[in-house]
């Protein structure tokens, strides 16, 4: 009988994840032991410090290229880059989440258990301090994302998928206002998300069967084994294709790609806006990080088989996002469809079979994350007595009421539309040029054509803000507290700097584009 051997664990390499998950546990204790009136400050500080501490560890680990904890986690260039990106964007999102001066008590409901629309509910909506469980939940989600982008086998990936998803389902339900909408969003997200997770798990099982193949072969779901199995093709490729498709469905759901996108608009609209921003930025990074790893590491040998299918998904995603964005009348839904279209552009980058494709996608993720968080930061500011005024008609003439914030939002919209000198252009160029270079010219054509369609809804908002006269119901922009101001400033400055001087980040991404296997 052989001795039980513990796998070696590189704690330094895992430190970012451990810090986040530890902070989440501390947050739960804070919830139990710290007096209610101090909880908000303590929780925010704990979460922010944890994120910054984890970021420091990522920076210190920057040169690590290793596989640890028994082959479950791969700390390599893309993992570190994406972890860094998630942490930076999460810090920005935390600033939005922690804001309490825009609305009394913050954007979150005080007690999620109070029946929506009841008298108690109306009372608590008037300004009871919001729930502080939000912070440990965010820490858990971020911790899960950090594992997700570094997972080196499909089971670790599945578990981290759940770790990041479950807190998100809850967070979606915690809006202070329009609670029914918020709860409906959470329910939808949960049901569809659970469904997608099941697909993923089933896919893992099929791939495991595929690697087992002939008797005596070592089966496994770690990426090196899968890669070798794809090369040797030990058993029927039906198992491989089926497994690959099901795993892709699970990941594309999280990424918000068509035809698995239907949850996106409802959830983006119903969730509290800071959470929407968090999902649009960080969840996207995590989902595409996982897609990159699965398709560039595990299934790389089957590239000729999956590229046409995923390419079709990318085209469909861009098309659905762009066309449906045109018809939207609610700013949050518009941004949701825009994020779907952006998922399509990101897929174009994923499908470029070069390291330029990987680095371009990573660059895009960071650039888009900054812009989209800034966009949602502005959305939290345009409000009246009933909360955020998200209907587009209410934004008419905002440029005259609040030229500064309307100007910032216009800049962000121009970035989304891909006008040069914004990060939106450089990031599109990064993925499109990589795809063209990798022989995927048709995806570039589709991307360019849908960009034309997508420019229209953005332009419509610009027209509304600047060229329409303010109506009776046009709200003014609320003066943001320093937290929101900081997040907004970071987002807008990053959008500009990445558009004008993208070279440092491009270098960083190019140097981090090689996976370990």
């Amino acid at each position: 009988m052989s001795e039980l051997k513990l796998p070696s664990i590189d704690y330094a390499a895992l430190a970012p994840t451990l810090i986040l998950l530890g902070a989440a546990l501390v947050g739960v204790l804070v919830e139990a032991f710290v007096p209610r009136r101090r909880r908000h400050v303590v929780q925010l500080a704990v979460a922010l410090l944890a994120v910054l501490g984890a970021l420091t560890m990522v920076v210190l680990n920057a040169n690590d290229r290793l596989i640890t904890i028994g082959g479950a986690i791969a700390i390599d260039g893309p993992a570190l880059f994406l972890q860094g990106a998630i942490l930076v964007l999460a810090a920005m999102a935390l600033l939005l989440i922690g804001e309490r001066s825009v609305e009394r008590g913050g954007a979150f409901v005080a007690q999620a258990a109070v029946t929506a629309e009841s008298a108690d509910d109306r009372r608590q909506a008037e300004g009871a301090p919001g729930a502080t469980e939000v912070y440990p939940l965010i820490s858990f989600a971020v911790g899960g994302m950090l594992i997700f982008v570094a997972a080196n086998d499909l089971l670790t990936m599945f578990i981290s998928l759940e770790v990041l998803s479950l807190p998100l389902y809850l967070l979606c339900a915690l809006a202070r206002r329009r609670r029914l909408l918020s709860q409906e969003a959470a329910m939808k997200y949960f049901l569809l998300g659970a469904y997608a997770s099941a697909f993923f798990l089933f896919g893992v099982a099929l791939v495991y069967g595929f690697t087992a193949g002939t008797p005596g072969r070592t089966a496994g779901v770690d990426f090196a084994t899968i890669h070798a199995a794809v090369a040797e093709s030990p058993s029927s490729s039906v198992l491989l294709f089926g497994g690959m498709a099901l795993i892709a469905i699970g990941l594309l759901f999280k990424a918000g790609a068509a035809p698995f996108h239907v949850w996106t608009p409802d959830v983006y609209q119903g969730a509290p806006t800071p959470i929407t921003g968090f999902m649009a930025a960080c969840t996207k990074v995590a989902a595409f990080g996982a897609l990159l790893r699965v398709f560039h590491v595990a299934f790389e040998g089957a590239r000729w088989d999956f590229t046409p299918v995923l390419g079709a998904v990318a085209v469909l995603t861009m098309l659905v996002g762009a066309v449906l964005a045109v018809t939207q009348t609610d700013i949050k839904r518009l941004l949701a469809y825009s994020s779907i279209a952006n998922a399509g552009y990101l897929l174009v980058g994923v499908l470029a079979p070069t390291s330029d494709g990987v680095s371009g996608t990573m660059f895009y993720l960071v650039a888009y994350g900054f812009s989209v968080l800034a966009a949602f930061a502005v959305v939290t500011l345009v409000r009246d007595a009933d909360g955020e005024a998200t209907h587009l008609s209410r934004w008419a003439g905002l440029g005259q009421r609040s030229p500064f914030y309307a100007g910032l939002f216009t800049f962000i919209l121009l970035a989304f539309a891909g006008i040069p000198l914004t990060s939106g252009f450089t990031s599109k160029f990064a993925v499109f040029s990589a795809a063209f270079d990798g022989g995927q010219g048709w995806l570039v054509i589709a991307g360019v054509l849908t960009s034309m369609v997508l420019a229209f809804p953005y332009l419509r908002v610009v027209v509304l803000m600047w060229l329409s006269e303010p109506g009776e119901s046009t709200p003014a922009v609320v003066m943001p507290g320093w937290l929101t101001s900081a997040a907004l400033t970071i987002g807008v400055v990053a959008t500009l700097v990445l558009g004008v001087f993208p070279q440092p980040l491009l270098d960083l991404a190019a140097g981090a584009a090689e996976f370990v296997r």
Binding site: A417, I419, P420, F429, S433, F436, V444, A455, F456
Partner: protein, 510 residues
């Protein structure tokens, strides 16, 4: 002096000026106007110095500068001007101060901030100079797209009737063209070995199929920008809704980016594709000449009318470019300059009329010459220049285009010549209905119509009138600059002028 980084300074200077103007207090509009005017005059002075420094007969590209920007993609801030770019830069530097002076009171009629209007004009100048000065395809694309933003706000915020519609249409049309070009730019970058440098790219051999697609990507963008038939429908709306000053820049300079792009990018980079597509491009040009002229005749809105005349003129420029003779191409470039002067003047004068009357409809005028004789006279002069009357500058360019085309393609030249007759019809009829004939009694009641040109307006029109006459008699200073660049472009596509068909030396000696 030739070491001075003219082009980058010229590009950046208006931007700095725009920032200065934008932060001036909104309560002091006069100060903003003066600063903007002074700044644009500085830019003009610098351009004049550049013009003087230009070595006629020197290198094709001069004032070259290059600084690294995004090394990962091989993108540089590379500026260089050939003769074609140089004359366009001069045109911009000249028109902007005049437009600022002409728009002195334009922004006050809207509720928007006056300093912002002038800041936008300066931003526009920065992007226009940049687009002509760029010698890096990526940089060119950046300016090409960013140029839309200030113009969009100029039309949308300060324009007249239907400004929102016009602004959005303008933006979307141009953006669509730009995105086609983006795809082609990326394709060119890949097949050209990951460089954006114009000089390097013009050496690259591209397979026939790829070359045609890339040509098409660029061509569509430029054809929308110029605009050529059938991509022209945005221009009458934009020109009709834009404030007169912005419209003068839009038609006078911005649209020239399209024709300039054809000469600088489409022809030298894709010579074989250019030859292959030339019949189609010629057809579009000829259709544009006739069709736009017919539509111009039917217009009842002065600004839309002028916009349609411009589309007809762009047809001439397109014919001149795709005839592939040096006469026609020189004519086309000269046309770009002269059209900028003549149509710029026409737009500014029409703007003065419209500002006085409060309406752009021709039917609201009638006999206006009796009230404002000087203004009516300038309108008549601008109209004559626009129809290319001999003695005005546009005549020379139009004539060069026509004879250059006739030597290689008689049918096109003959049909295009019909456009000259139509031009006479739309200009003269417009002038007649506006300023001649019996006085429209409604006009006498309009306060504005009692004032003829004031000193500011005279200062605006005088340099343009003078230049149109001067270049009409003595175009040599401009053609000397243009000719080498045009010859080089013709060499790029490997076309030589046909030998004169009558009386070659051998025949004469026989």
């Amino acid at each position: 002096m030739s070491d001075f980084p003219f082009l980058s300074v010229l590009t950046v200077a208006p931007l700095v000026g725009a920032l200065v103007v934008a932060v001036l207090p909104r309560r002091r509009p006069e100060l903003a106007k003066q600063v903007a005017l002074g700044w644009s005059l500085l830019v003009l002075a610098l351009s004049v110095v550049m013009w003087v420094t230009w070595q006629t007969g020197g290198d094709r590209f001069q004032f070259r500068e290059s600084y690294p920007w995004i090394p990962n993609w091989g993108v540089n801030f590379t500026f260089a001007a050939d003769g074609i770019a140089l004359v366009m830069l001069m045109l911009i530097a000249l028109l902007v101060p005049l437009v600022i002076l002409a728009s002195w009171h334009d922004a006050e009629s809207s509720k928007r901030s006056v300093p912002v209007y002038f800041a936008l004009l300066l931003v526009l100048e920065c992007t226009m100079i940049g687009v002509f000065a760029a010698a890096d395809v990526f940089l060119f694309y950046v300016f090409f797209e960013v140029m839309l933003v200030p113009m969009y706000f100029l039309i949308g915020s300060y324009g007249g009737h239907q400004r929102q519609y016009a602004a959005v249409k303008f933006f979307l049309y141009s953006l669509v063209g730009g995105l086609f070009m983006l795809a082609a730019v990326i394709g060119l970058w890949v097949v050209g070995g990951k460089t954006f440098d114009w000089a390097a790219l013009s050496e690259v051999d591209i397979s026939t199929g790829a070359e045609r697609w890339l040509f098409l990507g660029f061509f569509i963008a430029f054809a929308i920008k110029a605009p050529f038939f059938p991509f022209h429908t945005w221009l009458p709306d934009a020109g009709g809704a834009a404030p007169a000053g912005a419209a003068a820049l839009l038609v006078g300079v911005l649209d020239k980016v399209g024709t300039f792009g054809l000469l600088r990018y489409c022809l030298p980079l894709f010579p074989d594709a250019a030859k292959w597509f030339a019949p189609w491009a010629l057809a579009l040009g000829v259709i544009g000449i006739i069709y736009a002229a017919l539509l111009a005749i039917g217009q009842n809105d002065l600004k839309r009318l002028v916009s349609y005349t411009s589309i007809a003129h762009f047809g001439f420029i397109g014919v001149g470019i795709f005839a592939f003779t040096s006469q026609a191409a020189t004519g086309a470039v000269l046309y770009m300059v002269n059209h900028g002067l003549a149509t710029g003047l026409l737009f500014l004068v029409v703007g003065m009329l419209v500002a006085r009357r409060g309406s752009a409809l021709i039917s609201d005028f009638g006999g206006a010459g009796k009230l404002v004789p000087l203004l009516a006279g300038v309108l008549f002069f601008a109209g004559l220049a626009s129809l290319a009357l001999p003695g005005t500058a546009p005549f020379i360019s139009e004539f060069l285009v026509l004879i250059g085309t006739f030597s290689v393609n008689k049918p096109v030249a003959v049909i295009a010549t019909l456009g000259v007759i139509l031009a006479a019809a739309y200009v003269l009829w417009m002038v007649q209905r506006t300023t001649q004939g019996t006085l429209n009694p409604a006009l006498t009641e309009v306060e504005g119509m009692k004032r003829d040109l004031n000193l500011r307006e005279k200062v605006v029109v005088a340099p343009l009138v003078a230049l149109i006459v001067l270049l009409g008699f003595y175009p040599k200073p401009v053609t000397d600059v243009i000719n080498p660049a045009v010859q080089a472009t013709m060499q790029d596509i490997g076309k030589t002028d046909p030998a004169p068909s009558a009386g070659t030396p051998q025949e004469a000696s026989r």
